[in-house]
Amino acid sequence: MDESQTPTEVKNISFIGRHRFMLFITLSVSVAITIVGVSMYIYSSSGAAQLDLSRPGYVSVRDQVTNSTSEFPNYPNNGPISQSDIDNFKSLYSQQAQKIKLVDAFSGDPLNLDSLVFSNPATTGQ
């Protein structure tokens, strides 16, 4: 072994060796932060955040979520088709379509500034 090279090699190895644990911790934390960052980005951009009623502030409406999956008919996607099958489908479809149209979701204009701000007694001080 060349003794003149030994101190340099020992110096390099010992630096990594001395900080191995810190490097491991730093790398682990960096990976964890990156994964959390990516997860949060997916959570907010995919629309999951808007559907998540477990967030604070939504306590009052959590029990009002309806489980439509259980009441929705599961029309069989295979098998022969006859007039009765078509009639059955039309009946199921019509029932569900009626339920949807009864709600008229997001109608009205609750954000109309005239009624929200400028005519509201709470804001006009009347």
């Binding site: 559907l51 996607n77 039309k90």
Partner: protein
């Protein structure tokens, strides 16, 4: 060097003009509200925030419940019926076309709701006591985005009717074919 100078100057000029237009637009937005209205917003900040919070929460519930129904119409009814028709070697072109449009409209509804909800959250986070003009502008923007969500809902309801018509047409075609076979 000189060859690059002209396009750079043009780009810089366009950027200055665009910035000026945007600044004017922002100024115009902020100036649309009168001082009296600003004072009304300042004095009624708390009840306003409460109203917006309530709307935010009720819209979230509506989104979950109605979103489920719209999705199930597609997956449990339309797609299944289309599949069944296809597996019987019958013509389902009209049905597939409408259900495809419905799927596209459903995606638009989801996207537009995300934009609306983000705008509402941003609006609620504005301090309307110290920033009444910004609050006013944010509400106007939220109103526009909510209208877009409603128009998506109207389109979905329309497509539900269209699919029903397509099914009726399919039924007529089926009866015609079944009658011909019987003969």
């Amino acid at each position: 060097m000189k060859a690059f100078a002209r396009p750079v100057i043009i780009c810089v000029g366009l950027a200055i003009i665009l910035s000026g237009v945007l600044l004017l637009k922002v100024a115009a937005q902020n100036n649309a509200i009168t001082p009296q209205q600003i004072e009304q917003i300042r004095s009624g900040c708390s009840p306003l925030k409460n109203t917006l919070n309530q709307l935010h929460v009720s819209d979230a519930l509506l989104r979950v419940n109605m979103g489920q129904r719209y999705e199930l119409m597609l997956t449990k009814l339309m797609d299944r019926f289309n599949s069944r028709v296809s597996s019987n070697n019958l013509n389902n072109t009209g049905l597939v076309f409408v259900s495809g449009s419905y799927n596209t409209a459903l995606d638009a509804f989801r996207s537009d709701y995300i934009l609306y909800e983000e705008q509402m959250s941003a609006t609620i986070n504005i301090d309307c006591t110290n920033q009444p003009s910004e609050f006013y502008d944010a509400i106007v923007l939220a109103q526009t985005k909510r209208s877009q969500v409603y128009s998506d809902v109207a389109k979905l309801n329309n497509l539900i009717d269209q699919y029903e018509s397509a099914v009726n047409q399919f039924e007529k075609d089926y009866q015609f074919i079944a009658g011909k076979i019987a003969d």
